[in-house]
C-alpha cells in the first residue's frame, strides 16, 4: 500500500470498492504520519523545555550557594573584627585603660559579634530559600516537561503503529483485488476458450 490507485472506468464493482478502501487506508496513513510528526515536534519541544528547566535549577543552586556563602564570609569577617575589638577591651581592662575607650570597643565588639552570628546563622536558611527551593521548583517543572515529552513519544509510537496497520490493511485489500482480477482473467480466458 504505497500509492492510491485511481479509479478506472473498466473496473468492476469489487475493484472500485477495493480502490476506495485503499484510498481510505492511504488517507488514514497520511493522517497518522501527520500525527507522528506533530508528536515528534512536541517531544523535542518538551525535552528542550526540560533541559532549560534543569539548567535554571543549576543556576538557582549556584545563586543560593553564592548568597549563603557570602553571608558566611561576612559572618567570619565580623567575627575577626569582633575578636580584635574584644582583645582591645580585654587588654584595656587588664591594664586599666580608658573606660570610655573600653566601652566603645566593647560596643563595637558586641555589634560585630552579633552581626557575625546573625549573618552566619542566616546563611543556611538563605541558601535554602534562594537556592534550594527555587531549584526544586525548576526541577518540578523539568519533571512536568519530562512527563509531557514521554507522552508525546508514546503518541508518536502509536502513530507509527497506526501507519503500519494502515499499510497492512491496504496490502490485504490489494491482495483481495489481485485475487479478484485473477479470477476475472481466468473466467475471461475460459470464455475465450469456449467460443
Amino acid at each position: 500500500m504505497t500509492q492510491v490507485i485511481p479509479s478506472a472506468g473498466s473496473a468492476s464493482f469489487a475493484g472500485e470498492l477495493a480502490v476506495l478502501l485503499i484510498e481510505k487506508e492511504s488517507t488514514q496513513a497520511e493522517f497518522a504520519e501527520q500525527q507522528r510528526d506533530v508528536a515528534r515536534e512536541a517531544f523535542l519541544n518538551n525535552a528542550q523545555h526540560q533541559v532549560d528547566a534543569l539548567h535554571d535549577a543549576a543556576t538557582a543552586t549556584m545563586t543560593g550557594a553564592l548568597v549563603g556563602a557570602s553571608l558566611s564570609i561576612v559572618g567570619g569577617a565580623c567575627q575577626i573584627g569582633a575578636a580584635g575589638f574584644q582583645y582591645e577591651v580585654d587588654a584595656g581592662k587588664a591594664y586599666g585603660g580608658c573606660a570610655r575607650e573600653i566601652a566603645s570597643n566593647q560596643l563595637n565588639a558586641s555589634i560585630l559579634a552579633d552581626l557575625g552570628q546573625a549573618s552566619f546563622k542566616m546563611s543556611e536558611p538563605t541558601r535554602m530559600l534562594v537556592g534550594d527551593s527555587t531549584a526544586a521548583r525548576f526541577q518540578a517543572e523539568a519533571k512536568r516537561h519530562e512527563t509531557l515529552a514521554e507522552q508525546a513519544r508514546w503518541q508518536a509510537s502509536d502513530a507509527s503503529s497506526a501507519i503500519d496497520k494502515a499499510d497492512k490493511r491496504g496490502d490485504k485489500v490489494l491482495d483481495l483485488l489481485q485475487s479478484i482480477q485473477q479470477s476475472e482473467n481466468s473466467s475471461a480466458n475460459t470464455i475465450i476458450g469456449r467460443i
Binding site: 504505497t2 556563602a69 567570619g76
Partner: protein, 264 residues
Amino acid sequence: MSGTISSAHVSAWASVSPASERSTSPMSGACALLAVLVQAQCSSQASAKGEIELGFARLDELKQQLADSIRQAEEAADDSGFFGFLGDIFGSDIAQIAGAVASIAATIATGGAAAPLLLLAISEALQVAAKVGAELGLDPKICMAIAVAAVAVGFCSGAGAGQAAGEVADVARGVSLGAKVTQGAATIAGGSLHVVSAHYRAKQLDHQADAVGHRAEDEATNLDLDEAFSRLQRALCAEQRALATASEIIQDNSKTNTTLSNRI
C-alpha cells in the same frame, strides 16, 4: 491482475508518457508503468537507506556526546564533593576547634573568672568529639552520651567577666585573639570553599541537563530511524508487489494470446 490495476496504471502512464508511446498495447503500458513504479521504489529505498545511515551516524555522535556529558558530570560531582568536604572541615570543624581554643585561652586570660567560658569550650569540644567519633565509627551510644554531655555542660556555661594581668594572661589573650581570628578565617575559608563546591555542583547539574538533552535527541533519532526502516520495508514490499504484478500481467496476456491462437 491486468484489469483494474493495469488499466488504471495505463491511463496514468499515458498521461505522462510521450505521444509516440500512447499507441502501445495495454500490456506493455502496464509493464512500463510497473517498471516506473519499481524505479520509484528503488529511489525511495535509496533515500530510506541514506536516512538510516545518517541516523546511525547521528546515534554514534549522540552516544559520544552523552558519554562526555556523563563523564564531565561525574568529574564535577567529584570536585564538588571534594571542595564541599574541605568547606565543611574549615567552616565547621576547624572553626569549632578554634572557638574552643579561644574559650580556653579566655579562661586563662581572666585567671579563672571566665570558667563558664571554659565550660563552653568543653561543651564545644564534646560536640566536636561526638561528631568526629560518629564519623570515625565510634559506638553511636557513646557518641550520643558525649553529645548529651556537651549539651549539659553548655547549659552550665555563662559569660565571663574580669581580666587578669601578667605575662601568662597576655599570652592567653594573644592566643584567644589568634584562635578567634582563626575561627573567623576558617569560617571565611569554609564559605569560599562552599562557593567553589557549589560552582562544581552547578556544573554537574548543567552536564546532567545536557545529558538529558542528548538522550532526548537520541530518542528522536531512534524515532526517525524507525520511520526510515518502515519506509524501506514498504518500498521493498511495493517493489516486490509491482514485480509480481508485472509477471502476472505478462503471464495472463501470454495465456490469453495462446488461447486466442489455439482458437484461430
